[in-house]
Structures are given as structure tokens and as C-alpha cells.
Symmetry: C2
Subunit: 410 residues, 2 copies
Amino acid sequence: MKFFNVKTVPETHDIIREHFQATKKPITVALSNALGMVLAEEIISPETVPPFARSTVDGYTVKAKDTYGASESLPGFLDITGKIEMGKAADKLLQEGQAQYIPTGGMLPPGADSVVMVEHVEELGDLLNVYRQVAPGENVIQAGEDVQAGDVVLRAGRRLRPQDLGVLSAIGITEVSVFPRPVVGILSTGDEIVPPDKKELSPGEIRDINGITISAAARAYGATVIDAGIVKDEYDEFFTRAKELFEKVDLLLLSGGSSVGTRDFTVHVLEALGEPGILVHGVAVKPGKPTILAKAQGKPVLGLPGHPASAMIIFDLFAIPVLRQLEGLSTPAIDHRLSVRIARNIPSAVGRTDYVRVKLENRENELWAIPVFGKSGLITTMAESDGMVEIPASKEGILEGEFVRVKLFV
Amino acid sequence: MKFFNVKTVPETHDIIREHFQATKKPITVALSNALGMVLAEEIISPETVPPFARSTVDGYTVKAKDTYGASESLPGFLDITGKIEMGKAADKLLQEGQAQYIPTGGMLPPGADSVVMVEHVEELGDLLNVYRQVAPGENVIQAGEDVQAGDVVLRAGRRLRPQDLGVLSAIGITEVSVFPRPVVGILSTGDEIVPPDKKELSPGEIRDINGITISAAARAYGATVIDAGIVKDEYDEFFTRAKELFEKVDLLLLSGGSSVGTRDFTVHVLEALGEPGILVHGVAVKPGKPTILAKAQGKPVLGLPGHPASAMIIFDLFAIPVLRQLEGLSTPAIDHRLSVRIARNIPSAVGRTDYVRVKLENRENELWAIPVFGKSGLITTMAESDGMVEIPASKEGILEGEFVRVKLFV
């Protein structure tokens, strides 16, 4: 098969951004189910947090000016007139020359503006010796210091992390509108592929690998997965099974098609699923050139290469960005790649992005990436690797000792 | 409360490694449920993968020596004597001067040692013109090139990634022995703490934040979580609820106790749960000094500081290493921290490890960490941050422009 119009990796990413967006209706979920989901609404706080000034230490709440000049050698003297209780209103007015005991997190009474730590005072009955001066606001979280009522606390399009759920809890919001998790369907093709649980292989047969690795990678991302198993290289059955799966999912992945026969089937199936059909047919990337990206009835379909290492790399490179789009994620992905030194020269062709599997090794407190060579048909090279190094299309290769970026397999 | 014997962060990590190991019996799970679990057995391959030599391209399988000297200007001529079918035995002997058509992934017939790509031949009826010579083994994955029967393919103590499941599928192993996921229990304390769903707060009340953030962080790690809610600062109830939860979990987290009263309760509860009791009482870390680590009846109990940002940082710093031990993970954690420049001077005390929340910003294609200042009682500082920078105990601070390591919040 010829690749008439091979796209670069950045071109393919542009096509993905242009063609795919969140299409599913947002759903409302309880906070306890919202971790990792993408927020579909802007959150404006109905409340002020904390709703009152709180102490950040155990000590005595005072008027700061009553402590001015106090020191170890020349303590100040205040009258102890009360004790704030945790979780209770502090409604006893603090007057000049007075102090009230306050625990960490306790509410400041009216008239008080600061707290002297318990380590810096001495109690003598109802009298308090103060050995250090404090400034107004010292050891206090002011009312609204965390959140002001009316503040935009979280914007739509953000993936909810534990601390984001914490902010929502703090302002009394216990359910949120989020985009549903995308559903990914996977169908493996090839006459030589048999299920992993087949006991005795016949000559020419190979157990399916991509079904489990790609399902697992999609689950690790957070998608719901339908693994539809294996289909033989027979057009009608292939189309029927693909179509059936396509109707149930948000992203259809077809894995296999490394031989001319299945590759042709894949192309025909992708075209038959609906308009506009194939968007990208071949990418200037190694491994993974025979990647196909299509769109049918608004939905993405990705034809992954058959070789296990290629399939995983292409899933990471293109299926993840598609899923981010489908989820409505609008915050840019942080570049998580580690900067490490490469342990060998690696040649590469200009105009093609290369991905080299590597193992990381600690040498004198510095991480080095050791290339794991091996054909992309081998799965053990992926299992031996900690991550992969990208050699950009603009480079002719990388030299031993050069700094490279490693994307870790997590 | 006094901290008589404050430990450093590395000392606390040593204590964790020394005291806690995988104690639960391994369980057998299907591969489809094994992602992210820690392998409890060594896997020795019962099979050779691939079980036969396969072609990595579409083309003609030949004896390499029959192609020697072939070129565009001086092609070699071979007789086409057959066609290998995918997934079928290739049992027709290939003799000198012969070629058989072979698809990608097809089985090499006896007598063949290499494959000429379809791009480098021309078919003229039963005659094949060969325009390029190949070496023995060219375009072939040899039998056993991926896995040899008897190879140790995966070692115990490793967390199973998608590609590891792929290796298992390839050798026909469809279930594995793994350590069960740890069960984490969380109990929040404090008289001022009320459930997030309480509509109107009374003066002095604050909604619980740590319950949701720490539950979510534990779930994000992969633990099973029991969130036992909030308990008042009353010793008998606190002990009863903590004990009840302790019996059900592998790691008990007590959150809160920022005031003297609750801190003292927490210490007493930890001591009453069983021998040997408290291992670490105070850590030289900011935020998070009032951290308590205990062991009772072989199980870990961690007292987290009450401030939301402190609680999350201490969870990450100490609860995650405890969970790794409980899971039987024996591969060292890869240092995932990014090396970026810090945008401001930050002072720090020698002898104490500081964690500074930061936001990442791209400046001229280089990542910079912008400190997010704010008291550790504020949850919004965590929501604004992308990660945290560690200032080691040996340093007096960091200077603007200096490279620092950022641990990303994921």
C-alpha cells in the first residue's frame, strides 16, 4: 500500500484538535465520583472561606497594639477574660488590655486582631505575661483569605484533582457537572491472531497482544473500554463487527492490519463507516507509519499498526490527544518528559519523528537513558523499557551524552 | 505539645521501609483485572514467542544467498513456487532458486531464511525479478526472538503496566498472582469540622476538606478507601471509631488534630491501638511538622496534620511510601520530578525539608516554577498549584533562576 500523503506528527495533532471536541452531554456526579473527570461548568463560590477569622496556632488572641514592645526582658501584661472553644461562636468582645485563650482553628472574637503563640506567654492565674509582640493579623487566617463569595474557584475544562475536590467541599458544593468518560472500543484483526487463552497454538498462529495492552492503556487513561476481541480478515464480518462496536463507543480503535490484506480491509471499513472518512493515512513516525485516522458521523476511528510496540506508541501519541478532546479538556497538557542523557548515538532520518524505547539507569546521581533496541514486533522490548525518547523530525539523530526528553511509561 | 525527637524526612522513610512489608496473601486475578497491581510471583515463560520465524514485511521469502549481487541494473531471477497464508502452517519446502509470497506476520517455510520486500521485486507470471539483495535473517523475526521458553519474563514485586500484560498474553498466561490493593481508612477529627453537605454553617464551623482530598489521593494511588467521616474531640468516641476502622484497613489515616487538644487525643489513640505504638512523632518538614507515624499489631497508622495543604503534602511524602511497602513493590520508584527554574528567591531553614507549592509557566520554551505563597491552611493554594518543589534540609534556600526539582500533582 502506498502512503500518498503522509502527515507529520504535529500536523496530525492539529487535525485531531480541529476535528474532535466534547460531544457528549455533561452529567452530574457526586464529588466522591468526580476524581479525574473533566469539569463541564464554571464554579463560582456561593460562600466565603473561612467564614470567620481563625487562629493558625494555639495561643492567646489579643489586640496587637497591646503587645507592642513586649519582650523576654520586658513582658507585657494582659487580663485573661475567656477561652474560645473549637467549633463554637466566639462572641465575647475583646477589649483593650484583654486576652482570650484560642486553639488552632478557633474563631477570633470581635475586637481581636492577632494571636500570640502559647510558647511566647506565661499564665499566672488570670494574668497573662506576653514575651513577644505580634503584628495585626499575625497567626490568623482572615475571613475570605481562602475564597471570597463570588470568586471563580474552578473553570470548565479542567481535570479534577484531589485538591480541586477539596475546594468544592470547602464551599459546600457536593456535586458537579462533568463530561462523561469516553468509551473506547477495540477490535483486533488478523487471520494469524488467536485469543491469549488458546492452549495449543497451530503452526502460523500468534496470540493476541494488542487487545490487552491497548485496553489496559485506555483504562489507565481513565476511559471505559469495550474489548470486542478478534475478527478474521474477511471484509463482511470485519465491517459488521466494526460497525456494531462503532455504534457503542466514542472512539473506535482497530488494531492489526500489518499485512497488505488487512490494511486494505481497514481502509475500506473506515471509509464505509461514514463521512468524511479518512483524515490521515500514514504518519511520518517510526515506529507507526501505517497509522490511519478517520472520522465518521463526527466520531474518531483510529487504525493502529499491528506490531505491539508500534500500537502502544501510536496509542499514546494519537489516541490520548483524541481522548483529551472528547473529554472537553481545555487546559494544556504539562510536558511531563524528563530530561536525561542518552547512553548511545542513535541515527534518525530528517523529516520523520522517531521514538526509541529506553531503560533508565542512575549513573553518579544522574539519569541516563539506555536504548532498548529490537524490532517493533517484539513486546518484551516494551516490558524492558521505562519510557521512550522522541527524536524530532528536524534532527538527524542524537549523540551519546546529549540531553534528550524521556516520556515515561507509567 | 513538644516534639522531643523530631525525625528528618529520610529517617522517616528508613523507618517506613524497616517496619512495613506486604502482609496480605497474594490473590489470583485475570489479566483484565491486573493492571496496576503488584506481581507476587516470578513468571517463567512456558513457551517460545514467536513459535516460528515470521516475516516483518510483505514480500517474497527466499534463501538470502540466491539474492546476492542482485541490483536494479542486474536483477536476480527466482521461481515463484507458492504463497504463504496468514495463520496457516508454511510447510512447503523452499529450495534453491525459489521464492514464495509471504505477508507481514506470515510463517517462514522450511528452507527460507529471509524476505525481500515487495517494493524490491517484480512479478512476471511465475518468475520473480529481485532488485535488491538481502542478508540471512533480513526482514524476519526469528523463533524465540521475543521470548525463549524458560526465560524469566517478569519478576515478583513489579507493578503491572499495559505492556507487561501484553507479555503475559503473548505466552498464554491469562491469570497471575498479585498482592491485593491496600485498604486505606480515613477518619477526620475536630470539633469545628462539619460534613461538606451541611447547608448553613454555625459560627466557628468549617467544612471538612481533608476527608475528600485524602480519600481522592488514596484512590488516585490505587487504594481502596473507607472514608469514615468526622469524629468529635471526645476521647472515648474517637478511640472507638478509630479502633473500629483500624480493624478493617491496612493503613489507618487520622486527619486533623491541629490544636493541642486533638493532637493529644491522637497520640493517646495511636498508643492505645497496640504495640509498638508511635514510631515517629514530629518530622523536620514544612509544612507538616506535627506528623505522627505509628505501628499497631503490625499495621501502619499515620496522623496527618489538620491543615489541608499540609495533609496532602504529608500524604504524598509518607503515606505513598507506606502503601508501596504494603503492596510488596520492590522496584525502586523512578524520580519523576521535573527539573525547572525557580522564579523567585525562597529562604529555608537548614535541617528542615521544605515543600513549596508552585505553578508552572512556559517562558521562552523553558519551564519556570512560580511559587504559590499562602498559609498551609488554605486549600485554594493547592488548587492553583501544578506541583511542589522540595528544598532539601541541607540548603539555606534557593535563588531565583536556580534549577529545582518539581514533583507534579497529577
